[in-house]
Symmetry: C2
Subunit: 636 residues, 2 copies
C-alpha cells in the first residue's frame, strides 16, 4: 500500500500512514484525539477538521454547510487519505485533558464521610503482606519448600483457610527462598475461603498497594491505595481511549459487535487506558508493577463487560440481558494489566444492563442499605441511574437523559473543563449576563452545571416560558435575545468577550433538549416512587454523585424541576462515589462481600415496561413540571 | 547460516540443516531418535553412527577405537555438520518403538484387582457433564446469563458448593446459550469445595473423557478414560522425548539447570510427548480436544517438576528438597496440553525427591494403607523405590540400582523390546544355552529379566562363584566360557545365531554391575525392615511394579538375592501401577483425596544418612547374600 505523510496542525506533527486510512484514525495514531460522538458514522459532526493542503477522498459531509466545505472543512471520520496532507484540528474537535472528576479525597484515608464507612466495615484489605522466617531444610527435616512454607504460614495467619499457590509463583519459590536465606515476604490475596500467594520476595517491610479503578464511559480514574495504612497515595485520570469508538455505551456496543477484531480492539483500548494511568502512578511513586497486589474496578455494565473482554451484544437487544452480574475475580495476567500478574482483579457486581457496578459501588458508599431512613441516590451522567430505598428495600432504574448534561447535543455544550461556563446570572430587567468560567479564562462553551443555571435564570428572567418557548417580546430589553434564520437564541457571551470568534449562545432547541433531559431524570425518580407507592417528601436524604453532580446548584436544579423540591439540607454531593466504593472494597473484605449482597438486594425496574415512565416524562416536560403542587417553593 | 542436506540411512530420509548442528540434533529433527545415555556429553558411546559420505567436525571420539574411527564411525553428539552428508544410523544406536509397559488393562473397567479398588472408593469422577434447559429471559425475568445458569445448576447438582466460571468460558456463554436455544451441556470440575465450569456446549449426551498419564523417565503412557462409564477406551505409549537430554533423572536435571532455555526445552519435550500421544488417541477415537475434561499425571518427582515447569535444581543438591510435594492442580492451558483449556491437570503428590507421585499412585493401587497385613511394594527401574507398611505405618526409600535392569551399563544390555533375550536356560553339564527372545526373532541383546535369569543360571551352572567371579576352569566343558584380552566372558549367542555380526556375551564386569544393582535393591528392603525392627518373614504380601517387574521370574530373583526368600504365593505383579493409580483418581474423587493423605502418611527414609544401608549393601554383594540364613531355599 502507498504511504503518505500527514501533518497535523497546529502541532506540526507528521506521521506516515497508508492510503485509504481515515483522518480520524490517522490523528489517533499521531496521538491527537478527536471527538467522535457517533463512533465514525458521519452523523454527529463532532470531528470537524480543516484540510489545509492536499486532497482527501470524502464519503460524507454530514451537517457541514457549503461554505465550510468550500473552506476545506471535513468530517475526519468520513475523509480518507489519498496523498500527502496538512490537516488543522481545531480545539472544539479535540478530546482535551480536563478536570477529570476524581472525587475530593485528599492524601489520607478517604474523605470524612467514607472514613466513617471504613471504620464501620473494618480495615481488612483484599491483599496482605506477611514476612516469615523459615527453618533451613536438612537431610532429616526434608519437607518440600512449599510444605515448609505452608506450615510456617499457617502458624502466622489469623484464619484456618486453605492456602493456594499459583504455578507461576511456585516456579519462583525455590530460588527466592535460598537467595533470601529463608527470610521471605509473601503477598496474599485474602478472600472468602482461601488465601492465595501472589508474590514471594526476599524479606522486607514494604507495604502492599492496590488500585481502585473507575471506568467511566468518558473518563477513567485510578487511585493508588496503600493497603496497609489505608491512605490514598496518589491518583490519575484521563479520557477513556474507547472514546474514539463513540461517545456513549450504545455506540461502543455497536462497534464491539462488528467483528471479533473490533471487540478485541475496544477491550484493549480500556486496558491501555488503565495501564497508561498505572504507569504514571508507578513512576511518580517509585513503585514497580509487582507492588500493586489487588485491583477493584467499578464501572457500568457495558464498561465492565468490555473491560473483561465479554461481548456486550445482548446488553442492547431486548430483553437487555448482561452476561454476568456477579463477575468473577481474575488474575491480572489474564487481562494484561500492569500490576502483579497473579493479583486478583475484582469488578463490582451489577444490578442489570443499565444499572452497573459503578452504581452498586456508589450505593455502598451512601450506606443506604443499612439505614432506617429512606435515601434517594442519583448518579447523573449520560444516563441517570437512580436507587431508592433503605435497609428493608431497594429499587433502581436507569433513564436515558441524553448527553446534554455532559455537553453533548447543545450548540455550545462542553464538558466541565477550562473555559466552560459553570454559573450564569441574568439581570431580570436588563437581561445582562454575569458568568463564572472554569479556570477563570475567557468562556468557550457551557457545561452541565452552567446549563442548569442558565435554564433556571432564563425562566426567572422571563426569557422562556414554562414550556421552554422563547419570549421574543422581551428582546426589546436586550440585543442578547434574538431571532436567527435557523432558531431563536440568547447570547451568553459576545464574540469579543469569548475565547472563540463567535457569540456563545443558547438556542430554543438547546432549551428543549435540556428540558427533555431533566424531564427524564425527574420521571425516573417519580416512577420509582410510584413503584413503592411512596410520597416524595418521605425521602429523608438525597445523595448525588457523578461528574455533573459535583458542581450542581441545588436551588437551580429544583427550579427547573430536575431534582425534587425538598429542603437543601437533605441534599449531599458525594462526588465520584464509584471510585470511592472501589477504594472501600480494596480496604475491607467485609465491604466487598456486602457489595455482592447489595447488588442482589437492589430490584431493577425496567422503565420501558408499561406507561408509568412515559406518562411521568410527558408531565415533566415543563419548567418545573405540569403538576406545580410537586414544587411548592417554585413560582409557576 | 549455510544450510546442508543430511540423508539418514537406511531410511534414505533427507533434511536441510544449519552448519554446526550436531548429528544428534539433526537426527532428532528428521524424527530418527538416537540413544543418548550421557545427554550429549560424549562419554556413554550410545549414539554411534557411521558417516558414509561427506565430512563432519568431530570434537570427541569417546570410547571409539581407531578401527571404528577409520571406518567412519562417530559419536552423533560429538559430530557437527560442515557440508552435505549421508549418515547411517545402526539399530543398536536407536531408541525404538518397543513394548511400552502400559499395564495389562483391557477395554473395560480397569483390571479386576483395581476394579475392586474402584468399587471401594466409588465412581465419582473428577469431571462431570450435566445438561440443563434454562427458561428464556424476558423483560421481567431479566437475570444475567450467568445468574440464570447458576440457579438452574444449583437445582440440578447434588452438593451445595460454590460454582465458579473461568473468564474464558464466561466469554463463550452468551452466544452458546442463544445458539443452543437455552438447552446446554456443561462440563464441571467437581473438586473439594467447589464446582468449576470448564466447558459449555449445545445440549448433548456425549460423555466426558479424561487422560491418565504416566510420565516415566524413559517412556510415557497415556490412557483414555470414559469418565461416565469408567471404561478405558484406548491407550498409547512412546518414548519420553526428554531422552535426548540424557537417560536418567540426574542427567535430565543437569541439562535443565544449564540455562533458562534448556529448562524450557526439557519441559516442552515432555509436553510434546504427551500431546503427540493425545493427538493419536483423539484421531483414533474421533474425539476433539475439548472432550478431554480432566487429566491425572503420575510421575517421579523430577518428571513431575519438569512437567510443571518447575526447575529441579535442588532435587540433586543435598539435602535434596523438592519444590513441592502436594502439587497444585492447574488449568491445561497453562501447560499447553492438547485437552480442554480449562480442564484441571492434577499431578500425584510425592513423598520426597526420590519417592515420587508414581510411587504414591502405585501404593494407592496396592491398597496397602488400608490393610492390617504388611505389604512390601517395590517399583524396580533405574531407581528402586520401596514402600513398606500397613494401615498403621508406612515407610519408604529409594535406592539407586543403576541402569542395569533397563539395559544400561551392560555390554549387550537393551530394553525389553524385540530382539531382547528375556529368558535364559543353561545346561549345567554342557553349558549349552537355550534362549527366549522378545518377538521370537534373532537375539540382538539382553534385557533386565533376561539378565536376572542369566545370573541365576550361571550361578547354578557353576560358571560364576558367589562373588560373581568367573570360574574359567569350567571352560573345558564349553567354548562359550572364555578369556579375552579385556575381560572374562560367557557367550549367550554366537554371531551366526544373533541379529548382529558379533557374539552376544555377558562379561565378568557385567556380572559385577548386576550384583551391585540387585544388592542395592535388597539392601533398601533390609534397611526399611531394620528401620521398623521387623523380620523379613513378617511381610504378608509383596507387590512388584514397573517395566522390569512385569516380566520378572520370582524364583530366579530370589536365587540371586534380588528379592526376599519368601513363598511365591506372597508375590504379585501389578504391572504399571502408576498409570492405574492415575485412572483410579480420574474416576474417584475419594481416591484422589486419599492420595494426598497417603503421600503425607508415608515416611521417607534417607538412606544416605548413617551406615545401615552401606552395611546392608556390602553384605548383599554376594549371590544370594553373605548371610545365607536370609535365603533358606537357596543353595549357598
Amino acid at each position: 500500500m502507498a504511504q503518505y505523510q500527514i501533518t497535523f496542525m497546529p502541532e506540526n506533527r507528521a506521521i506516515e500512514i497508508e492510503a485509504g486510512t481515515s483522518l480520524l484514525k490517522a490523528a489517533s495514531k499521531a496521538e491527537i484525539y478527536i471527538k467522535s460522538g457517533c463512533g465514525g458514522a458521519g452523523t454527529c459532526g463532532a470531528c470537524k477538521v480543516t484540510v489545509v493542503s492536499g486532497e482527501v477522498e470524502t464519503t460524507g459531509t454530514g451537517n457541514l454547510n457549503p461554505d465550510q466545505i468550500a473552506h476545506g472543512v471535513r468530517l475526519a471520520c468520513q475523509s480518507f487519505v489519498q496523498g500527502d496532507l496538512t490537516v488543522e484540528v481545531p480545539p472544539e474537535s479535540r478530546l482535551q485533558e480536563h478536570q477529570v472528576l476524581m472525587g475530593d479525597v485528599k492524601k489520607g484515608i478517604l474523605q470524612e464521610s467514607t472514613n466513617d464507612i471504613l471504620d464501620k466495615y473494618g480495615h481488612k484489605p483484599l491483599a496482605n503482606k506477611i514476612r516469615v522466617q523459615l527453618p533451613e531444610p536438612t537431610l532429616t527435616d526434608n519437607a518440600s519448600d512449599w510444605a515448609r512454607l505452608s506450615v510456617e504460614l499457617k502458624r502466622n495467619l489469623p484464619y484456618e483457610k486453605n492456602i493456594e499457590i499459583p504455578l507461576s509463583v511456585l516456579r519462583d519459590l525455590p530460588e527466592i527462598l535460598r537467595q533470601a536465606n529463608w527470610d521471605v515476604s509473601l503477598t496474599l490475596t485474602d478472600l472468602d475461603d482461601k488465601y492465595t500467594i501472589t508474590r514471594i520476595e526476599p524479606g522486607n517491610e514494604q507495604p502492599p498497594y492496590g488500585l481502585a479503578i473507575d471506568i467511566g464511559t468518558t473518563t477513567v480514574v485510578v487511585y493508588l491505595v496503600n493497603l496497609k495504612t489505608g491512605a490514598i497515595e496518589d491518583k490519575q485520570g484521563t479520557y477513556n481511549k474507547q472514546a474514539k469508538f463513540g461517545d456513549d455505551v450504545i455506540s461502543r456496543i455497536v462497534y464491539a459487535v462488528e467483528t471479533p477484531d473490533s471487540m478485541q480492539e475496544i477491550h484493549q483500548a480500556v486496558i491501555d487506558t488503565i495501564n497508561e494511568l498505572t504507569d504514571k502512578l508507578l513512576a511518580r511513586q517509585n513503585l514497580i508493577q509487582a507492588d500493586l497486589t489487588a485491583a477493584v474496578v467499578a464501572a457500568n455494565t457495558t464498561m465492565t463487560q468490555l473491560f473483561l473482554g465479554i461481548n456486550p451484544r445482548y446488553l442492547r437487544l431486548e430483553p437487555y440481558i448482561p452476561t454476568v452480574s456477579l463477575t468473577p475475580s481474575v488474575p491480572a495476567r489474564e487481562l494484561g494489566l500492569h500490576i502483579l500478574p497473579e493479583a486478583l482483579v475484582h469488578s463490582y457486581p451489577s444490578v442489570a444492563s443499565y444499572v452497573g457496578g459503578d452504581i452498586v459501588s456508589g450505593a455502598l458508599i451512601t450506606d443506604m442499605a443499612n439505614k432506617e431512613e429512606v435515601t434517594l441516590f442519583i448518579d447523573i451522567g449520560t444516563n441517570g441511574e437512580i436507587v431508592l430505598g433503605n435497609q428493608d428495600w431497594l429499587v433502581s432504574c436507569a433513564c436515558s437523559a441524553g448527553p446534554c448534561f455532559e455537553g453533548g447535543g447543545i450548540n455550545f455544550g462542553m464538558r466541565a473543563m477550562s473555559g466552560a461556563i459553570e454559573r450564569v446570572e441574568i439581570d431580570p430587567e436588563t437581561l445582562d449576563v454575569n458568568l463564572t468560567v472554569v479556570g477563570r479564562i475567557l468562556p468557550v462553551g457551557i457545561c452541565g452545571s452552567g446549563l442548569v443555571d442558565c435554564l433556571a435564570k432564563m425562566r426567572k428572567a422571563g426569557i422562556i416560558d414554562r414550556a421552554g418557548n422563547f419570549q421574543l417580546e422581551r428582546s426589546s430589553y436586550s440585543a442578547r435575545l434574538r431571532q436567527t434564520p435557523d432558531d431563536k437564541e440568547f447570547v451568553l457571551a459576545w464574540a469579543h468577550q469569548a475565547g472563540g470568534d463567535k457569540d456563545i449562545v443558547i438556542t430554543e432547541n438547546d432549551v428543549k433538549n435540556l428540558i427533555r433531559a431533566k424531564g427524564a431524570i425527574y420521571a425516573g425518580i417519580r416512577s420509582l416512587l410510584q413503584m413503592v407507592a411512596m410520597d416524595i417528601d418521605l425521602i429523608d436524604r438525597i445523595d448525588i454523585a457523578g461528574g455533573f453532580g459535583n458542581y450542581l446548584n441545588v436551588p437551580d436544579s429544583v427550579q427547573i424541576g430536575l431534582l425534587p423540591d425538598l429542603p437543601a439540607e437533605k441534599y449531599e454531593f458525594i462526588g465520584n462515589s464509584s471510585v470511592k466504593g472501589a477504594c472501600l472494597a480494596l480496604l475491607s473484605q467485609k465491604a466487598w462481600r456486602e457489595a455482592a449482597d447489595l447488588a442482589r438486594k437492589i430490584t431493577y425496574v425496567e422503565l420501558s415496561i408499561g406507561t408509568t415512565f412515559m406518562d411521568e416524562f410527558v408531565s415533566a416536560l415543563f419548567l418545573p413540571h405540569t403538576d406545580l403542587s410537586l414544587f411548592p417553593t417554585v413560582e409557576g
